[in-house]
């Protein structure tokens, strides 16, 4: 997708009158860029291809020819087996619920705190932002035990709500930092105009800031969704019952103590990344629009 864009923009420059020699040179550069982008594309797609060709292989085929060979016959047994073994439809539902919950809650939290820090005047807001940024760097391993005891104390251990709250808070640290930086460049005239019209702070947030920021909020929500989807440590620690677990935790089924089944692993990876890819394709337009909107501001 990326290289298409490059080819297009390069082609748009072409009709300009240029000397023969210059055109030739530019042609060469264009081909070079195209080749480079194709190589990058191949590099990006390589893991997907690897997962795909190994997921449909038979065990003996893998044992005899290894991971890089083209499958001698195609079978979907491993995919079906993993789906069954992991009760995958349930896991998909759980992951979707948790990821969606986190992305709504985290965007909401980030928006409110960023509004205070970015637009409102809070003493020492830059210090607070720096601390939030530091907060995003804390390794999760170090906070797992406190979180576990807190969740047990309030009776939320082994519930998805616990995971949603914890991850939403963690991610809103980054969200707050990002949104506050964007909001600090928010045109003051618009805010002053609204104030003169008699809008309260709530009304300014809901009627002025949110509509303008909407594309950025959507991007943030999308990222939160995908990050949460890939989250492993907190779900594995907090969700004990299989019925509560997420897709990324279920992937562990393919790895034993000493061994892993490479075909099952490929099938699991394929099933594991497919939802995020589909989600990304659906929201791709929102994403590019959001990024572009941010850039113009």
């Amino acid at each position: 997708m990326a290289n298409q864009g490059v080819v297009k923009s390069a082609a748009m420059g072409a009709p300009k009158p240029v000397s023969r020699r210059g055109r030739k040179q530019r042609g060469a550069v264009r081909w070079l860029v195209l080749a480079l982008m194709l190589a990058l594309l191949a590099l990006t797609l390589f893991p997907f291809v690897l997962a795909l060709i190994n997921a449909v292989k038979t065990g003996p085929d893998y044992a005899a020819n290894g991971p890089l060979s083209i499958p001698t016959s195609i079978q979907f047994d491993a995919l079906a087996k993993f789906w069954d073994m992991a009760d995958y439809s349930r896991k998909l539902l759980n992951s979707t619920l948790i990821s969606a919950g986190v992305s709504v809650l985290a965007v909401l939290l980030s928006l409110l705190s960023a509004y205070a820090l970015g637009i409102g005047e809070v003493r020492g807001s830059s210090v607070i932002l720096a601390m939030l940024l530091l907060g995003t760097m804390v390794p999760q391993e170090s906070i797992v035990y406190p979180i576990y005891y807190m969740a047990k104390a309030v009776g939320l251990y082994d519930t998805q709500l616990a995971v949603i709250i914890v991850i939403a808070v963690l991610q809103s640290a980054f969200g707050t930092y990002l949104l506050a930086s964007v909001m600090s460049t928010f045109p003051r005239e618009i805010l002053e105009a609204a104030e003169i019209d008699g809008a309260s702070r709530w009304e300014i947030l809901i009627n002025v800031v949110v509509p303008i920021m909407r594309p950025t909020l959507m991007v943030l929500g999308t990222f939160f969704f995908i990050w949460t989807w890939n989250e492993f440590l907190i779900p594995v620690v907090m969700l004990v019952s299989n019925d509560n677990q997420t897709v990324s935790v279920a992937m562990g089924l393919t790895r034993g103590q000493n061994l892993s089944d490479p075909i099952l692993q490929a099938a699991a990876s394929l099933l594991g990344i497919a939802p995020t890819v589909i989600f990304f394709l659906i929201f791709q337009r929102t994403l590019t629009r959001g990024v572009a909107a941010g850039a113009v501001k």
């Binding site: 991971p67 019952s241 034993g256 000493n258 061994l259």
Partner: protein
């Protein structure tokens, strides 16, 4: 804004409800294990579970397939909560079963050992990793867990390639070296090895244990004295020698076990030294040639141990049922089932086993176990020793460490831990 809050609240309460439903009914029996459904243990236990359910129609039996990673990551947290099951499979060793036993999270099984007759089925050597003292160190103290299977490291070999080269199964290290020499002269690198993974240090330890006596093993595993490096020096010298002679590929320094196993399963390398956990996978996937396994020739000690443990959490609600389940997995019927699925059943009668792979494995394990020859794994005595050994033996394979330097460097780590325990 308000809408969103209501939505979030609604979602939250639904979730809370979902969580609540999971805990219901009074007579439920929860059982967990992490062995894969395709593994010999998984196959045998699934069948045993059917019988168990049929024998207790009044009990709702909930089985959950757990993952090794989950229990490794959060085992003690789960055991310390209301979500702990009635019986579960737990990783043996000081850092895992020993730790949770010393934290008081497991049920003392001493009474069950006698009342259920487990002491008649397992010999005292099989109980070594079941006992943990108050510090969580194995070897003495009450019984906290029961193994149903065993495991050992051996050399897997390609029978077809051996026959073609006119070679017999080696019965001494010299014969083994001669066999590798024959392959090497034919242009075949004989030994597949994952230098940065377990199979590297398992080969190292297998060779070291050929030089070990009872005192050495007890001192080494018990962290009783500063390391006597002689057996490791012998092993390291052998490995350096083998790399030099081309028995081990220089590429194996950066290799992981799955890739090394692939060299064996694809028929490129005739020998691969690794554990019995490969038996199931090799049986299922090697179709192009005949293969077998031989024990690395040793006077007494081999790398191996009893398997993971059945444990009963302190908070379990149906302890008698849990003990009954453990007895079922140790019963002749399901021991034979496990061996027939290609597994190393700990107390199966070889005469009843029809699967040649499982039969051989059970016999070999019995041989080692009967002479008390389980030397355990080389990384056990010192926390973090697994990575140290991997790192240092990679240096050995690469040639950046001599055999003497290798022994000196692991001795330093070992002696530090020994002095500071």
């Amino acid at each position: 804004m308000i809408k969103l809050t209501t939505l979030a609240l609604a979602a939250a309460s639904t979730l809370a409800l979902l969580g609540g439903i999971a805990q219901a009914q009074d007579k439920t029996f929860n059982i967990w294990w992490f062995e894969g459904a395709d593994s010999a243990q998984g196959i045998a236990w699934a069948k045993a579970l059917d019988e168990f359910k049929a024998a207790h129609p009044d009990v709702t039996v909930n089985f959950e397939q757990k993952t090794f990673a989950q229990l490794q990551q959060s085992g003690s947290m789960i055991l310390n909560s209301n979500e702990a099951p009635d019986v579960l499979q737990y990783n043996k060793g000081n850092a895992t079963a020993g730790l949770v036993a010393s934290q008081g999270l497991l049920t003392n099984l001493d009474d069950y050992v006698v009342s259920q007759g487990w002491d008649k089925i397992l010999n005292e050597g099989d109980f070594v990793l079941s006992r943990y003292d108050e510090r969580g160190i194995y070897g003495s103290g009450p019984v906290w867990g029961i193994p149903a299977n065993g495991e050992y490291v051996s050399a897997f070999y390609n029978i077809d390639m051996f026959e073609k080269a006119g070679l017999m199964v080696p019965t001494s290290i010299e014969e083994w070296e001669a066999a590798m020499d024959t392959f090497q002269k034919q242009g075949v690198t004989p030994l597949a090895l994952g230098g940065v993974d377990t199979s590297g240090q398992h080969l190292l330890a297998s060779l070291a244990y050929t030089q070990a006596d009872d005192t050495w093993i007890q001192n080494y595993q018990g962290l009783k004295e500063p390391l006597d490096g002689a057996p490791f020096l012998y092993a390291a010298q052998k490995l350096v020698d083998w790399v030099g002679k081309g028995y081990i590929s220089k590429d194996s320094t950066g290799m992981k076990d799955p890739d090394a196993a692939l060299l064996f399963t694809s028929g490129k390398a005739p020998i691969y030294v690794s554990g019995t956990w490969n038996l199931g996978g090799f049986s299922a996937t090697i179709k192009d040639f005949k293969w077998g396994q031989f024990i690395i020739p040793t006077p007494k000690y081999s790398v191996g141990s009893t398997g993971n443990l059945w444990v009963i959490p302190t908070g379990a609600k149906n302890k008698d049922l849990a003990a009954e389940w453990i007895s079922l997995t140790l019963s002749p019927k399901y021991q034979t089932e496990m061996a027939n699925a290609g597994g190393v059943a700990i107390a199966a009668d070889p005469a009843t086993i029809t699967n040649p792979v499982g039969k051989n494995a059970v016999e070999v394990f019995k041989q080692i176990s009967d002479k008390n020859g389980l030397g355990f794994y080389p990384d056990w005595p010192v926390p973090g020793f697994y990575d140290v050994l991997n790192q240092k033996d990679t240096g050995l394979f690469q040639g950046s460490l001599t055999a003497e330097q290798f022994v000196e460097e692991i001795k330093q780590v070992y002696d530090d831990a020994q002095a500071n325990q």
